[in-house]
Symmetry: D2
Subunit: 236 residues, 4 copies
C-alpha cells in the first residue's frame, strides 16, 4: 500500500497477465502463441505502441483499492468512463465500487499542505504557491470551515436527519474509497492525462504513485511504453 496526500492511499491488490499476454493476444491474429518473451517480442510490443494498436493491451488487468478526496475521485472515474471534457478516448470501463455516504458517515477530510495561486496562463490550473502569510491565513480559515462543517454534519445526524440528506454539507475534500478494476490501456490513458502538468496537483500525486507501481510490476512493458511515448522529455 502506497500512501498519498495526508490520508489517502493507492493499493494494487491483484494483476492478471503480463507482457507475454499482450504478445500472445496480438499473435492470435496470425494464429500463433508463444511461451516466453524474446527479442522479436519486445520489437512487437514496440510496434504495437508506436502504431497505436492498443487492443492487445486490454488483456492485462489490475484491481486497485483507492482512498482519495472526493474532488480527486470524481476526476478519476469521470476520466475512466470518458465523461471528461479532455478525454481523448473512451477507455473501456471495467468495474468501480465506492463507499456511499448514504450508508456510512464520512469523517476524514483533505487538508492542503500548501495553497496555490490561480494560474495566470489558464482559466483552470494553478500557478505558484502563495506567500507564507497567505498560506497561514488560508489554512486558518479552512480549518475553521472544517470545524463548522463537522459540527453541522454531526448536529444534523444527532437530530435524526437521514445520512443521505445530512451528507449535503460534506465538502469535496471528503475522503472516499473505491475498488477499481481496469486494463493496462485504461491505466495508461489515466497516466497520460493525469501526469500532465495541466492536471490538478492532487491527482498527479496519485498518478505518480500509479506509475511507480506499474514500473515495479511490469518493468519491461513500462520501459518500452516510455521510450515510445517520449523523445525523452515527457513525464511518461
Amino acid at each position: 500500500m502506497h500512501l498519498v496526500l495526508d490520508h489517502g492511499f493507492l493499493d494494487c491488490q491483484e494483476i492478471m497477465g503480463n507482457e507475454l499476454t499482450v504478445v500472445n493476444s496480438a499473435r492470435v491474429s496470425f494464429g500463433k502463441q508463444k511461451n516466453g518473451i524474446g527479442e522479436e517480442d519486445t520489437r512487437l510490443l514496440r510496434y504495437l505502441i508506436r502504431n497505436k494498436h492498443f487492443s492487445p493491451f486490454r488483456h492485462i488487468m489490475f484491481r486497485f483499492h483507492i482512498k482519495a478526496p472526493e474532488f480527486v475521485m470524481r476526476q478519476w472515474y469521470k476520466h475512466v468512463v470518458g465523461a471528461e471534457w479532455s478525454a481523448s478516448s473512451f477507455a473501456p470501463f471495467h468495474a468501480w465500487n465506492e463507499i456511499s455516504g448514504r450508508y456510512v458517515p464520512l469523517t476524514e477530510f483533505y487538508q492542503p499542505e500548501s495553497w496555490r495561486s490561480q494560474s495566470t496562463s489558464s482559466k483552470q490550473g494553478s500557478g505558484d504557491l502563495l506567500d507564507s502569510d497567505t498560506q497561514e491565513s488560508c489554512t486558518h480559515v479552512y480549518n475553521e470551515f472544517l470545524e463548522t462543517m463537522n459540527r453541522t454534519y454531526e448536529l444534523l445526524l444527532e437530530k435524526g436527519v437521514a445520512k443521505e440528506q445530512a451528507r449535503s454539507v460534506l465538502p469535496l475534500s471528503v475522503y472516499t474509497e473505491a475498488i477499481w478494476t481496469c486494463s493496462f490501456q485504461s491505466a495508461m490513458n489515466f497516466l497520460e492525462l493525469r501526469l500532465d502538468k495541466h492536471a490538478q496537483w492532487e491527482i498527479r500525486e496519485y498518478a505518480t504513485v500509479l506509475q511507480k507501481i506499474l514500473n515495479e510490476k511490469l518493468p519491461l512493458l513500462m520501459s518500452i511504453w516510455k521510450d515510445e511515448k517520449t523523445g525523452g522529455g515527457s513525464d511518461l
Copy 2:
C-alpha cells in the same frame, strides 16, 4: 424546460428516432423494414420488452440539459456507467459533459424544503419527516453552514487561491450542470432504479420529471413499457 427542486431543471433538447425506429431495428434481423406503426408492430414492441430484447431500443437517442445538486449528479452518472452498487446492468454510456469547478466559481446550493429522518428499516434510506421544531433548527444550522462555507470559498478566492483548490470547501449540495446524451434503454434503466422507493427523494424528483417528458414524447412506447413492467402496481 422542467424545473426540479429549488434551483434545478431537466430540459430535453433533442430526440432521434421513435417507435418505428425500434420496430425497424428489430425487423432488420428478418431483412424487413416498414413505413408506419400498425397492430403487429405494437405486438412486436410488447414482445421485445417482455423478452428483454432491449438492443433495438438503443437506437432512440435523447440529449438532455440537467441542472442538479452534486449529490444527485453523482448518482446520475455513476448509474449511467454502471459504477453503482445497485446497477443491475451496464447501460451503454454515451456522452456526458459537465460544468467544472476548476474553470468557474460555483455559487448555487440546494436547500432542502424539509428534513427526513434516517430510515429504520434500511441503513441507507430516509423515513418520515422530522417534527416541525427539528425542521426549523436543522434549516437554521444548515443555513449558517452555507454562510460560513460561502464566506470561506470567497475568502480563499480573494486571497488568490486557485479555483481548483478553493473548491475543496464546496459541499455536495452545490448545483452543477451537464449535457447528457443517452439511449431509450439507458433512460429506462435510470427510471427503473431512480423511481424506486429506495432511491433518494431528490433524485426521484428528477426521475419523475424524466418519466413525464418521455410520456409526452413517446406515449405509445411508454404505455407499452409500463404495461409490460407492471401488473399495475409498480412505480413505472
Copy 3:
C-alpha cells in the same frame, strides 16, 4: 483445455479475483473490508444476486482462448458487446483479439455430426434430427461443397490473389481463434443467453463447457448463483 465440437476448444488461461473480491467490492460501500469468507458473506453474495446488484461481480476477471467456427464466434462477440437482437443488457466489453484471414490462410472447417430439422415452433431454431438417409445425403453434399470451396480458395491463392480477397469464399463453418478477457458478469450473461434452449446447439456446447470451467474454479459462487437463478428447473 476443453475440446468442443470437432476441432474447437475453450481454455481458461487465467483468473483474477474470487468470492472474497466480490464481497469486498460490495463492502467498500460500507467502508469495510474482510480477509475471509464466512456465513454472512455467503448471505451477502445471495442478496446481491437476488437483487441484481451485479456491479461487484465485475471485479472477477477471466482470460479465455477460444477456437470455434465463425458462426459461433460471431454470436459470441456480438453478444459480448450487446450487438445481439436478444441482448437484454450491455455486458461491459473488455478485450477481444481474433485471428485474421487477411494475415493467414484459414484451413479448418466445422463438420456437423448430425443435421437438425427447421424448428416448426420458431422461425430461427432447430427441431429434431433428420432421418438417417437425409443425414447421409446432407453430409455427402456438404463434404462435396467443402472440397469445391477448398479447391477454389487454394486456386485463388495460387493465382496470386490477396488473402484478404480470397477469403471471400470461406464459409461460416471456418474455424477461428480468439483471446477473450471478460468479467464474471459478462460470463454469466453469456451463460444465461447461450445455455437457453433457443440458443443454437453448437454455441450451447461452448456454453456448457464454460459453465463446467466456472463450476470448477468458483464452486461456491456458482452454486449460489444457480440457487438464486432457479427454482431448480432452469438450465443455469
Copy 4:
C-alpha cells in the same frame, strides 16, 4: 441512399445535433450556452480537435442503414467495439442490429469486379491488380464456387435442414444488413482507420461514402476536422 460495391448501400436515416451541439457541450464546462455559431466557436471547435478533447463530439449522433458483404461488416462492428487488432481506442458503442441467417435465407453475394495481388510489403494487404488473363480465370472459378455453394445451401434447406445449420456454407462474401447508431466521434474513428491505405479496398469504398455523407451534412465541422488532421496530405 448511396450505392456501394455491386449490391451494397449506406443510408443515413437521421442525425441528432450539429456544430452548435458540440460547442454548447464544451461550454457547459464553463457554465455557458450559445444560440448560434460565430468566429470564436469555430476557434473552439479547432481547439477541441487539436487537443484531442473529443468528448463533446459524442453528442452528435447518426443512424445508418448498411448493406455490405459479411467480411466488410465484421471489420465494421469489430472496429466499432474496439475488438480490432488495430483499434487505437474504444469508440463508445451505441447500437447495432443486424440481419440473422437463423431467421431468413441469405441470397446475395459480393462479386469482385477485379482481383488484387497479395501485397509484397505487408502480410495482410493487397498490391496491384492481377493481369487480365488471371482476372478472367479467377472470376470463372469464383462464379463456379458460388453456384456450387448456392446449390448446396438450397439443397440443405430443401431437405429440411434448419436455416441456422444450413448457413454453415454461406461464404464471407454474403451480403448482410444492419442498423448502426453511432456518435460523430465513432464515425471519425471509423474514417481514420478505414480510409487508410492499409484498409481493405472494399471497406474503403464504404468509408469514402461515409465521408461524403458527413461532408454534406456537417460541412463546417468536417472542414475544420480535415484541416486539423492534415497538413494537406492525408486521406482525411
